[in-house]
């Protein structure tokens, strides 16, 4: 289990407020992009949209199961 001695995790924890803002903005942007208005009335995938668009990008598209 990763913990606070891990330098990567420690850095993320130290940036928690800024990252939380960024993550929230990304959520809003994702919802806006996939709203029926923007997608021509068709509901499209949200969280997995980039994986659906890039099945060839195996590095990040090992789809969570």
């Amino acid at each position: 289990m990763r913990n606070s001695t891990d330098p990567v995790i420690r850095r993320m924890e130290s940036l928690r407020p800024a990252l939380a803002t960024l993550i929230a903005e990304a959520d809003v942007a994702r919802r806006d992009r996939t709203s029926p208005d923007r997608s021509g009335g068709e509901q499209v995938a949200t969280l997995s949209a980039f994986e659906d668009a890039f099945p060839t990008f195996y590095q990040f598209s090992n789809r969570p199961r």
Binding site: M12, R30, F50, A53, F54, T56, F60, N62, P64
Partner: protein
């Protein structure tokens, strides 16, 4: 110590990559493909054998068949239709194309067969200069004609962009270009040293981090595009902050079978298809004309180089603080950079994973 429970290779893939032809009508300077001058076409029996397995997998989950290449449109509509015909209608079809052959007839074909489209373009003309035709002339105008055809037919498309010089100033240009191009999704690949592309991909740490940080900055000003690398990084970051990191990676590596034109199957890294090595042979795990694909995939962990790769993944897990973000260095990058599969950190890891994550964190820290 990693938090991810991802171990081994899944016996069932989420997609297959098909090589309908080895031929490509372009001659991009960073291309890894070894036989792209030759038009070695996939016969229909190969597609039929793949469909036998894929139709079963698609009954239980969303499943994609990715027509890659070479340039997949170079086989022509009639032959591509023949290759697609054996597959069940539940199967998603995707083409990853250089767009230069796209016209009204191709767009009608793609719409009729409900094929999702990914195109390869590296940005405005000065940033797309490495994408050239066989005469060495820029492919940009031909690519844009293809994009115009997609727009005329209202066919949505994603873009994969290769960046050979990640540094400050580049990301701003690229984001603005792709924002205006009309694509839905953008994936950014830092050039890799693999296959017949022997150019070094060693980059200055500060340049690459600044590139990614700048991309986040541009995206944040106008987040109309979904940028694959940003989405993934924020998904991981959110999971870390929520204490749910083990939910990020899958339980097992996707085997990602690549089916070469002749039916040979290479798992994990499409870039290994068509290559051979004295130590590892031709990297294949079987041929669909002789062995059912499901059986090849289920037994692929027994392929000698795959076993070595899995040892390498475990070394990454033990040594690398970024493992939960990426799941271990990729097979082709290990082999083409290090000559073996059980090494750990590659230049690709640094450019496209470590510096990506650190660049996003840099942005968060300084904005």
């Amino acid at each position: 110590m990693s938090s991810s429970g991802m171990r081994g290779i899944s016996p069932v893939p989420g997609y297959v990559i098909m090589q309908p032809t080895t031929l490509c009508n372009l001659d991009c300077k960073y291309c890894y493909l070894p036989h792209r001058v030759a038009d070695r076409r996939m016969p229909v029996p190969v597609a039929r054998a793949v469909a036998d397995a894929v139709d079963g997998w698609a009954a239980d989950q969303r499943f994609s068949v990715v027509w890659h290449g070479g340039e997949p449109l170079a086989v022509g509509r009639e032959h591509l239709a023949d290759l697609m015909r054996p597959f069940d209608e539940r199967v998603d079809h995707v083409v990853q194309t250089n767009a230069t052959l796209l016209d009204d007839a191709w767009c009608a074909f793609l719409a009729e067969h409900r094929v999702r489209v990914g195109i390869s373009v590296d940005g405005p003309p000065e940033r797309n200069a490495q994408r050239v035709n066989r005469g060495g002339r820029p492919a940009y105008e031909a690519i844009m004609r293809g994009v115009d055809a997609l727009r005329r037919h209202a066919i949505p498309f994603s873009v994969i962009c290769v960046v050979s010089d990640p540094r400050p100033g580049v990301a701003r240009d690229l984001y603005r270009f792709f924002r205006d191009l009309g694509c839905d999704q953008l994936g950014v690949n830092i050039e890799e040293r693999e296959g017949v592309n022997l150019r070094s991909n060693a980059r200055r740490d500060e340049d690459v981090r600044a590139f990614w940080a700048e991309l986040v900055d541009e995206w944040r000003h106008d987040p109309v595009l979904s940028v694959r690398e940003i989405e993934w990084t924020l998904r991981y970051t959110a999971a870390v902050l929520a204490g749910t990191v083990d939910d990020v990676l899958p339980r097992q590596h996707d085997p990602i079978p690549t089916i070469a034109y002749n039916g040979d199957v290479v798992v994990l890294s499409p870039e290994l298809a068509g290559f051979a090595d004295a130590r590892y042979g031709d990297f294949t795990s079987g041929n669909v004309l002789r062995t059912p694909l499901a059986e090849i995939v289920a037994n692929s962990a027994g392929t000698a180089w795959v076993r070595e790769f899995l040892d390498g993944v475990e070394r990454c897990r033990a040594l690398c603080p970024y493992f939960d973000f990426c799941g271990g260095g990729h097979a082709a990058n290990r082999f083409f950079e290090q000559g073996r599969f059980d090494g750990t950190e590659t230049e690709h890891c640094r450019n496209s994973k470590i510096r990506l994550l650190e660049g996003v964190l840099d942005h968060a820290q300084f904005h």
